[in-house]
C-alpha cells in the first residue's frame, strides 16, 4: 500500500543534507510551511540554497533559519520588507548571497524545472539590470531574455488537505508557489492541515496530483 504520510515534521526533513537546494513555499506568511521549517532548523543542515519569494518575515520560520546562518544563498523576488531584519543584516554583512529574480521569472523557472523545459525566452526583465549578461533574442519583433530552470533537492510546502497518495488541495492565496515547487523538487514534502481518506478529495479539484509529492505531514491549523 502506498503511504506517503509521515507522522512528524522531524522525520520528514531528516535527510536534507548540508548544501541542499531547498524550495520553501509561501508568499509572505501565507502558505509558509512553518512546521517543516522549524524541523529543518532543529535538524541542523547548513550551507543551504533557499528558493522563496521573500527572505523571511519577523523572527520565525525562514527568518529564523537565516538568523541561524544556515543559508548560503537565497533566490527570491522580494527580500526587502519591513520585518526582514535578519536577511537585511546578513546581506549588508556580505554573509548571504542573493540572486534577485523577477517574481514571474521565478515562478516560470520553477515550473520549467518541473516540466522538463531546458530554458525559455521571457520578456520580463529585458533591458534591466536583472537581465545583464543574459542571452537575449528578438522573436516576432519582441525582446526576450533566456532564463533557465531552477531545480531543487527538496520542496517544503504547506497545503490544506492531503491523502496517502500525496494528492493536495490548498487554501485561498496560500496556494501560491506550492504546486510548482512540488513539481520542481526531487523530493516534495507537504505539511497539511488535515490528512483525509483516499478518495475524499474531489478528483476534479486536486490541485497537486500525488505524483509530485513524496511526503505528507499532518500538522493541523497554522
Amino acid at each position: 500500500m502506498i503511504d506517503k504520510i509521515v507522522p512528524s515534521a522531524a522525520e520528514a526533513v531528516a535527510d536534507i543534507r548540508d548544501g541542499a537546494t531547498v524550495m520553501i513555499g509561501g508568499f509572505g506568511t501565507a502558505g509558509m510551511p512553518n512546521a517543516l521549517i522549524d524541523a529543518l532548523i532543529a535538524q541542523g543542515a547548513r550551507d543551504l540554497v533557499v528558493v522563496n519569494n521573500n527572505a523571511g518575515n519577523g523572527d520565525t520560520g525562514l527568518a529564523a533559519l537565516l538568523k541561524e546562518k544556515r543559508v548560503r544563498k537565497i533566490l527570491c523576488s522580494f527580500p526587502r520588507q519591513v520585518d526582514s531584519q535578519h536577511f537585511d543584516a546578513l546581506y549588508r554583512a556580505g554573509e548571504i548571497e542573493l540572486e534577485l529574480v523577477p517574481q514571474g521569472n521565478l515562478a516560470e523557472r520553477i515550473r520549467a524545472a518541473g516540466a522538463g523545459i531546458g530554458g525559455f525566452f521571457t520578456p520580463t526583465g529585458y533591458g534591466t539590470q536583472l537581465a545583464e549578461g543574459k542571452e537575449t533574442r528578438v522573436i516576432d519583433g519582441r525582446h526576450y531574455v533566456l532564463e533557465y530552470p531552477i531545480h531543487a533537492d527538496f520542496a517544503l510546502i504547506r497545503a490544506d488537505r492531503g491523502d496517502r497518495w500525496g494528492n493536495l488541495t490548498y487554501r485561498k492565496t496560500a496556494r501560491n508557489f506550492g504546486p510548482i515547487m512540488a513539481m520542481a523538487a526531487r523530493c516534495a514534502i507537504a505539511e497539511v492541515r488535515e490528512v483525509v481518506e483516499l478518495g475524499a478529495l474531489d478528483p476534479e479539484a486536486v490541485v497537486t496530483p500525488g505524483i509530485f509529492v513524496k511526503r505528507v505531514v499532518p500538522v493541523g491549523s497554522a
Binding site: 523576488s77 520588507q81 537585511d88 520578456p123 520580463t124 485561498k172 492565496t173 510548482i180
Partner: protein, 222 residues
C-alpha cells in the same frame, strides 16, 4: 513651489481620477502603495475584476478586522475578501496572466518615467539599498495598458518625469499613461501629451515644472 493658483490633487483625488478611466469588465492589477487606493474609488456600478499576483482574481475590499484570514491576502500582504466569481490559482498561472497579456490594466507606482515610456520603480540603485523587485517587471511588460501613478515632483521639487531614467529600469518603453497630482499625461510615439491637468495650472507652467516637452492632447488627435 506652489505659488500659482492651482491645487495639487490629494492621493485620493488621484486615485479617483485613475478609477474613472477603468471601464466595466476590466481585469486590473493594482501595485503596492499609492495604486492600492484606486480600489476604494472604483464606481460601485461597474464590475471590475482585481487581480493580485499572489494568485487571486476577484479580490474584494478589506474585511472587518475580526474576519481577517491570514490565507487571504493581496500582493501587499494586506487582508482582502473574495468577490463572488473570484478564483484562486498558483503563481505560474498568475504570472501567465500578466506575461501573456491577459490583464487589461495595471497601475504602478514609480520613481521615474521617461518620455519614451521607460519605467523605474524598483530600486534606487543606492549602494546600501537592498534591492527587491517582486512582480513589478512582469506587470510592466504584461498588462495591455500600464498606468503609472505618482507625485509629479520629488520632495526636492524635481520632476519624476524625465528625459531618461537615472534609476535602474523596471521596463523599457512600457508606460502608456501617467497620473500625477498635477496632470494626466499620455506617452505617445510623438512624445508626452497632456490629457488634462488641475484647474489653474497652464500647460506652460506644467511644462516648466516637468522639464521635458509636453503638448496638449487635443492638438495631436487626428
Amino acid at each position: 513651489m506652489n505659488t500659482t493658483a492651482y491645487q495639487r490633487m490629494t492621493r485620493d483625488q488621484m486615485a479617483a481620477r485613475v478609477a474613472r478611466d477603468i471601464p466595466e469588465g476590466a481585469y486590473v492589477n493594482l501595485g503596492i502603495g499609492l495604486p492600492t487606493l484606486v480600489a476604494n474609488h472604483l464606481p460601485a456600478d461597474r464590475e471590475i475584476i482585481i487581480h493580485s499576483e499572489n494568485g487571486v482574481l476577484g479580490a474584494g475590499p478589506a474585511p472587518e478586522k475580526h474576519l481577517t484570514d491570514p490565507d487571504l491576502m493581496n500582493a501587499g500582504k494586506q487582508p482582502i475578501t473574495l468577490l463572488k466569481g473570484g478564483s484562486f490559482f498558483h503563481h505560474a498561472d498568475s504570472f501567465a496572466m500578466m506575461r501573456g497579456g491577459h490583464l487589461d490594466y495595471c497601475v504602478l507606482g514609480a520613481f521615474q518615467v521617461a518620455v519614451n515610456g521607460d519605467l523605474a520603480n524598483w530600486h534606487t540603485g543606492g549602494p546600501d539599498a537592498i534591492p527587491a523587485v517582486g512582480g513589478a517587471m512582469d506587470l510592466a511588460i504584461g498588462a495591455k495598458s500600464v498606468f503609472v501613478m505618482m507625485e509629479h515632483l520629488t520632495r526636492e521639487g524635481e520632476s519624476k518625469i524625465v528625459k531618461a531614467c537615472t534609476y535602474p529600469l523596471t521596463g523599457m518603453g512600457c508606460v502608456n499613461r501617467i497620473y500625477t497630482d498635477l496632470a494626466v499625461i499620455d506617452v505617445t510615439a510623438e512624445g508626452l501629451a497632456v490629457v488634462d491637468c488641475v484647474p489653474g495650472l497652464s500647460l506652460e507652467e506644467l511644462a516648466r515644472l516637468t522639464g521635458v516637452p509636453l503638448r496638449a492632447m487635443l492638438e495631436t488627435r487626428d
